[in-house]
């Protein structure tokens, strides 16, 4: 990892030339963000299963151990509750732990620490303590993985108040949002779309930068229908938007980027403008975060709707194993069918 950053640094020249960029993947952006923040702030440490010597099972922490040493890059025992619990204790006493959960499907043993503690320390102590920490986890399907490796249960963290939830969809956003998450004074769950960890590269500034939490982006502006998504599903929406373009339909893609705090204004503005909306997520439909978006639109933009908001989501089933997963995951065609419904209503 050091190579990437170091070489790029060397070419960056004197301060001010912040425009120097580098083409990186999301996985590399995670690594670079961690390295830059660790360099910037000695309180930042990285911990988790296989994050040290092995550089993470997705190589998202590669090189950090060599660079920052075993005191700041901790290969932990195999115990998620222990990882998050110790991180809470550390965060409450002056460190800024960035803990990795190897796959989102393995976060369940840590739910008690996340929901009963991490989320509540500030409120519980009326501000005497707080828990500035980040819990990174790869989430979502599409990599032909065994059971429990494709989970996407972000809704759990969104109904439990006190946790910020961030889901980048591009390398640039990953760098900027992860930096913000680490600098944030509140706990952040940072969901990494593992399916697109290495799917594409993007030019990203070499120097540290942040992207504020709570601000959606519009990677594809449009006029007639709004497609809302986050993480890996943003690309599915972009594909759909391009297909629609070819049919002469102008779709606007809203990438929420952070689910809490939620950029309600950008979402509602878009829906008010287009009058049609399709919400896309990988999690099961029922009680998924898509329901919340529909509810918000219902509450704030009902009269602007030309048709019911459509949800394109995972089914209300267990995420299937590799051989059937493509049937489960929302794809371009499913989004297109949903868009059609909003026009035919």
């Amino acid at each position: 990892m050091s190579s990437t950053i170091h070489e790029a640094r060397r070419t960056a020249g004197p301060a001010g030339e912040a425009a120097v960029t580098e083409k990186v993947t999301i996985a590399t952006a995670v690594r670079d963000a961690l390295a830059l923040e660790m360099e910037r702030d000695p309180r930042v440490i990285v911990m988790g299963e296989d994050v040290g010597v092995n550089g993470g099972v997705f190589r998202a922490t590669e090189g950090l151990l060599e660079r920052f040493g075993p005191e700041r890059v901790l290969d932990t025992p195999l115990a998620e509750d222990g990882i998050i619990g110790t991180a809470v204790g550390m965060a409450m006493t002056g460190l800024r732990p960035v803990a990795e959960i190897q796959f989102m499907g393995f976060v369940y043993p840590a739910v008690n620490q996340l929901l009963a503690h991490m989320a509540r320390i500030r409120n519980r102590t009326r501000g005497r303590f707080h828990a500035p920490m980040v819990v990174r986890m790869p989430y979502g399907g599409g990599i032909h993985a065994p059971e429990s490796h494709s989970e996407s249960y972000e809704a759990m963290f969104l109904n439990a108040p006190g946790i910020k939830v961030v889901v980048p969809s591009t390398p640039r956003d990953t760098r900027g949002l992860l930096a913000s998450a680490i600098r944030d004074e509140d706990p952040v769950v940072f969901l990494e779309p593992k399916r697109i960890y290495r799917a594409f590269r993007e030019e990203v500034p070499v120097e540290p930068f942040t992207i504020p939490l709570g601000v959606a982006s519009i990677p594809h502006p449009g006029e007639q229908v709004t497609l809302v998504a986050w993480g890996a599903m943003v690309r599915v929406c972009l594909e759909a938007a391009r297909a629609l373009e070819r049919e002469g339909i102008s779709a606007e893609v809203v990438d929420l980027r952070t689910l809490n705090p939620l950029d309600r204004d950008t979402l509602l503005e878009s829906v008010r403008k287009t009058g049609r909306c399709v919400v896309v997520h990988e999690a099961p439909r029922t009680a998924g975060f898509g329901a919340e978006l529909v509810a918000l639109i219902n509450e704030h933009a009902l009269l602007d709707l030309e048709a019911p908001v459509q949800r394109v989501t995972g089914f209300d089933t267990v995420f299937p194993y590799a051989r059937l997963e493509h049937h489960y995951l929302p794809n371009r065609d499913r989004v297109l069918r949903a868009v059609k419904k909003t026009f035919e209503f």
Binding site: I45, T76, M90, L95, H117
Partner: protein, 357 residues
């Protein structure tokens, strides 16, 4: 090389002060008379504070309360053994040591009276808030112990928990982390024989709780938890070990919950009165008084003064509690995040309108 022992672990039990007040002089820690009297005074103050809370609860002036009566010794002993730089990570029955470590009495009362301000301890008080989910605090203790070392700060994390809590997986994960990272943490189990209605024997087939340390390759010791000297000695050793970077220790303090689990519980439903009577004879406070009197360090007159002092102090805490202004409903929202998001501000406004209408 057939069948051979490869690990032998021994758990010791330490007792110094007998229920009749006599001591094993060889093991008695080197404490000044003042410190010894101090231990006694702390225990008496704890009991007064606790008994008052139970009364307040009966009068409807306090919420559910978890009595600590009978468990004063581990708390007083640890409080004395700890340094100012050390951190306390309590469970929920550690009122005594929380007070001793600087939590204002009326603040802790406020917690149990159903007020979040009861966990807003002063900035210089190194005490964690009460963690309600049993067993979940141990990992915080391990994390604090690791954090102190990583940040190059002095201090040890002292984590408390009950016998029941040792059945939660959290407990083991925490001990294991502490062992692996040689955390500057000590784990004190107040084995008060009961987890609500479940007796110690049904909680685990292990003969002692101290031996749970063996699973994690760290030292464990059992002490008479109603013997303030025994706890003090074990605590001192453990704190020294942690402070010098030799890693964590598990201390099982065998004691007894003389009261109900909480004021919402009726221990009479599940507990043999004879068992209670037997343990009342082992009460840590009279035992210590006998010892002090035998040494000429205490007399009836001092006892009377102390009782008055303790009562007055407790009354002052009650007064301070009852003088607290009512909590502001907006506090429900204020501390959720460093900055209040717009959606939450709206909800707060909704409530404000409601309250004022």
């Amino acid at each position: 090389m057939p069948r051979k022992p490869i690990v032998t672990a021994t758990i010791e039990r330490l007792e110094i002060l007998s229920p009749d007040g006599s001591v094993d002089e060889a093991l008695l820690p080197e404490l000044s008379g003042e410190d010894m009297v101090g231990l006694y005074r702390e225990m008496v103050r704890m009991r007064a504070y606790d008994e008052k809370a139970v009364k307040l609860q009966r009068q409807g002036r306090m919420g559910t309360w978890a009595p600590l009566k009978g468990q004063e010794a581990p708390q007083a002993a640890l409080a004395l053994a700890m340094e100012p730089e050390d951190w306390l990570i309590p469970a929920f029955r550690e009122h005594g040591i929380m007070l001793a470590r600087g939590v204002p009495g009326h603040v802790l009362y406020a917690y149990w009276a159903g007020d979040e301000r009861g966990s807003a301890f002063p900035e210089d008080v190194r005490v964690f808030p009460i963690p309600v989910p049993v067993g979940s605090q141990f990992a915080h203790g391990a994390g604090v112990g690791m954090s102190l070392a990583l940040r190059g700060e002095p201090g040890v994390a002292v984590t408390f928990g009950g016998d029941g809590a040792t059945s939660e997986g959290d407990f083991h994960e925490a001990l294991n982390f502490a062992g692996v990272f040689r955390a500057r943490t000590i784990f004190v189990i107040q084995n008060n024989q009961w987890a609500i209605s479940v007796p110690r024997e049904k909680q685990t087939a292990a003969e002692t709780l101290a031996q749970k340390a063996v699973a994690h390759g760290i030292p464990g010791i059992q002490v008479d938890g109603n013997d303030v000297f025994a706890v003090h000695v074990a605590a001192r050793e453990a704190l020294d070990r942690a402070r010098s970077g030799e890693g964590p220790t598990l201390i099982e303090a065998v004691t007894y919950r003389l009261g109900d689990h909480t004021t919402a519980d009726d221990a009479g439903r599940y507990r043999d009165p004879e068992e209670l009577a037997r343990w009342q004879e082992r009460d840590p406070i009279p035992r210590m008084r006998r010892f002090l009197e035998a040494r000429g360090l205490w007399d009836e007159q001092q006892e009377l003064v102390l009782t008055d002092e303790a009562t007055a102090w407790v009354e002052a805490q009650v007064e301070a509690l009852e003088a607290m202004p009512a909590p502001d409903p907006a506090d429900i929202f204020r501390y959720m995040y460093a900055e209040m998001p717009a959606s939450l501000r709206e909800q707060m406004e909704e409530l404000r309108e409601e309250v004022s209408s």
